[in-house]
């Protein structure tokens, strides 16, 4: 019974999404209702599954099953993802501007397919299931980022995202191969028990893939390019679901990382560095969505770090809280983009004042992002910090600096959003900065506004999961106990730090160094180091094919023709002439044979006598 539930949970969004994608223009009218309805049903099913904890497995490949299981970790993440998806889809259904009205069927179809893939990823128990869902997530994300396909820049952005994440996914395939060679049955929970050399390969492979998907260093640049997609896409994929799955995977295989030792250290430091550097990048950004993207990468750095230091409870709660917060912020950015036609920070001055619901929700989200108590990310960050401080002091320092930076960029946005029109920024002057990206509708639908409210509530309240009464419950659910908890001193001091940074930003503003604004030049570096050699190799191979292989083929064709012509000469000159010669000789001999028949009797007699003599001679000689 429960197994059926799990299958329906997976299959329902997949099937409906597939129908909408295939239906195209024909299903445009029912797309919104179907999309939101399916998402609602999926959310209910997710909650039920989280309570019931079903598990299924079917034989899939030789020696490995397609296995899904809702264990403790999945029980926390599954409802989160489903509910955030529901709210995002409600917003998208009500969204009057932007890309969705151009092709609602395709949008909702792709989103539902993506949701199905995320659900499989979250519940995957074996590597084949994980790989399948991983690939589908990548494919649908490409289609969703490049949703306005008429614009080649957006499609190029989607291609960058897809190629980068797929290149990182090779690590997952490598890990699967190593696990198979090491004799595992490809279940995720059994990976920690592999023999020594294979275990390291598996850990390394999974680490690379997760870092790629979670947009950690050195893969962060794809998230910047992915911001060209529609805002609901960013809200779901690049805050709550896809990038979060990278961190989620690391949380799930945290025992494996701990068993190999070096993998945990690498994960922790990569997470820390990402949080630090991408925090700096976020401060220097002038585009709201770019800032939010850098912030996503930095916050996921915290989650990755938690996985590295075995702070699974903290990582999970941070993931959940961040999902709600970031989704809220992206949706708000989308609303302002549609309404005001701009997402540059210069153009959004005072935008929070125009639509109060959106403004206040966004403010709550930004305060949570800064780590201001008692909002969610403050408590979860401290739970992670507690685990980090047990592991290494250097990491703890880096984490503190990263937390300060997150307060910095959140403060930057808050200042802009609540700016009053001052003497040098009249109302008319502000109007000049509108409509830089697209003509604005100057309105945000009320349904869309109402979708933001539950997310704001979540952003505010979910911190309770990391605080003592519920944190032990969560730890029991997750199956990890005895993880260090944050002391009250730490809690108070981190909250104070956040408030102080906010005040400093309000007073003095933020620096914007060039290297940070350019996302650490990562994309250019990758272009030089990876893309250019690959393209020149491809060009060289193409040249080789055109000149070398092509010429060989053509040459052999010429030789064959020459050979055929020689054979034809032999045939017509030699054989044909021979046959003709034989025919001519036969005709001539026939003409000669007529000559003895003169009709003269005596000549016939002579011929007869000659023949008889020869016959007699033959008789005598032979017989």
């Amino acid at each position: 019974m429960m197994a059926v539930l799990l299958w329906i949970l997976i299959v329902l969004p997949a099937v409906v999404g597939g129908v909408l994608c295939v239906g195209g223009r024909r299903t445009d009218r029912v797309a919104r209702t179907l999309g939101v309805g399916t998402s609602a049903v999926t959310s209910v099913l997710a909650v039920v599954a989280a309570l019931q904890r079903p598990a299924v497995a079917v034989p899939f490949l030789a020696g490995a099953d397609f296995g899904l299981r809702v264990d403790g970790l999945a029980a926390v993440v599954l409802p989160t993802v489903a509910l955030v998806a529901l709210l995002v889809l409600v917003f998208a259904a009500a969204w009057r501007g932007g890309d969705v009205p151009t092709a609602p069927s395709r949008f909702f179809g792709l989103m539902l397919l993506f949701l199905a893939a995320v659900l499989i990823t979250a519940t995957a128990d074996t590597l084949p299931a994980l790989l399948l869902a991983w690939e589908i997530m990548g494919a649908t994300s490409y289609a969703l980022i490049g949703f306005r396909w008429q614009d080649p820049d957006r499609v190029a952005g989607g291609a960058t995202a897809l190629l980068t994440t797929r290149a990182a996914d090779l690590g997952l395939y490598l890990a699967a191969g190593a696990a198979l060679t090491g004799g595992s049955d490809l279940t995720l929970s059994g990976l920690a028990g592999l023999p020594a050399p294979w275990r390291d390969v598996v850990a390394g492979g999974i680490l690379v893939a997760a870092l790629g998907k979670a947009a950690q260093l050195p893969f962060s640049f794809w998230l910047s390019r992915a911001m060209l997609g529609p805002s609901p896409v960013s809200a779901l994929l690049h805050s709550a679901a896809m990038v979060a799955m990278g961190g989620y995977l690391l949380l799930r295989v945290a025992p494996l990382l701990a068993a190999t030792g070096w993998a945990a250290t690498v994960a922790a430091w990569m997470g820390a560095l990402t949080a630090l550097l991408l925090g700096a990048v976020a401060i220097a950004q002038r585009d709201l969505k770019q800032l939010l993207a850098a912030s996503t990468s930095a916050q996921l750095g915290f989650v990755v770090m938690a996985a590295g230091v075995a702070g699974t409870a903290g990582g999970t709660t941070h993931l959940v809280a961040h999902a709600a917060t970031k989704a809220l912020l992206f949706l708000a950015a989308g609303a302002w983009l549609t309404a005001l036609g701009t997402k540059q920070l210069d153009g959004l001055r005072g935008a929070a004042r125009r639509w109060p619901v959106v403004g206040i929700s966004a403010t709550i989200g930004l305060l949570a992002l800064a780590g201001v108590p008692p909002l969610s990310l403050w408590a979860t960050k401290d739970e992670i910090l507690a685990a980090v401080r047990e592991s290494s002091t250097a990491l703890a320092v880096v984490t503190l600096v990263a937390a300060a930076l997150s307060a910095g960029y959140a403060g930057k946005v808050l200042v802009v959003l609540w700016a009053r029109p001052s003497a040098d920024h009249t109302a008319a002057g502000i109007e000049n900065d509108f409509d830089t990206e697209e003509p604005g509708t100057r309105s945000v639908p009320s349904v869309a506004q109402s979708a933001l409210i539950p997310l704001a509530v979540g952003a505010a309240v979910l911190g309770a999961l990391a605080l003592p009464p519920l944190s032990t419950e969560i730890a029991t659910v997750l199956g990890v106990s005895g993880e260090p908890a944050a002391t009250p001193v730490e809690l108070i001091s981190s909250g104070l730090l956040a408030v102080l940074v906010l005040a400093a930003v309000y007073r003095w503003g933020t620096p914007a160094p060039r290297w940070a604004a350019e996302w650490l030049h990562l994309e250019r570096i990758v272009g030089v180091v990876v893309v250019a050699p690959v393209l020149s190799l491809a060009a060289a191979l193409a040249r080789f094919d055109d000149t070398g292989l092509d010429r060989t083929v053509r040459h052999s064709a010429d030789r064959t023709m020459w050979l055929a012509r020689r054979a034809d000469d032999v045939d017509s000159g030699g054989i044909d002439a021979g046959v003709r010669g034989v025919a001519v000789a036969v005709v001539r001999s026939a003409r000669e044979a007529k000559r003895p028949q003169t009709g003269q009797l005596y000549q016939y007699y002579v011929q007869v006598i000659v023949l008889l003599l020869f016959a007699a001679l033959l008789l005598i000689v032979v017989i």
Partner: protein, 100 residues
């Protein structure tokens, strides 16, 4: 008088007749040559009778040869008559209907 000598005489007669059959143009002369050839054959047959097998069977052979000669004569003259009647000629050179 041995068999070989008789046979040589017969061969001589035969060859004289052959010469005549081959070289004469007139049909009747050709037939004379043929007669001489059969003459030689008769002599040879008699030689065989006397020197090899003096049985009545050999005499029967002689009779058959003589009958053959008779038949040949008759047919030959009939053809000569026909030839003369239709072409008014008695030369074999004119009767080359089987040529080609």
């Amino acid at each position: 008088m041995t068999l070989q000598l008789v046979l040589i005489v017969a061969a001589a007669l035969f060859c004289v007749g052959l010469y005549g059959a081959l070289s004469q143009q007139v049909v009747v002369m050709v037939m004379m040559g043929l007669e001489l050839m059969i003459n030689g054959v008769i002599l040879a047959a008699v030689g065989f009778y006397w020197f090899v097998s003096p049985t009545p069977t050999a005499q029967v052979v002689l009779l058959v040869v003589i009958a053959a000669m008779t038949v040949e004569m008759a047919m030959g003259f009939a053809v000569a008559t026909l030839l003369h009647r239709s072409r008014n000629s008695d030369m074999t050179d004119m009767a080359t209907d089987l040529s080609g």
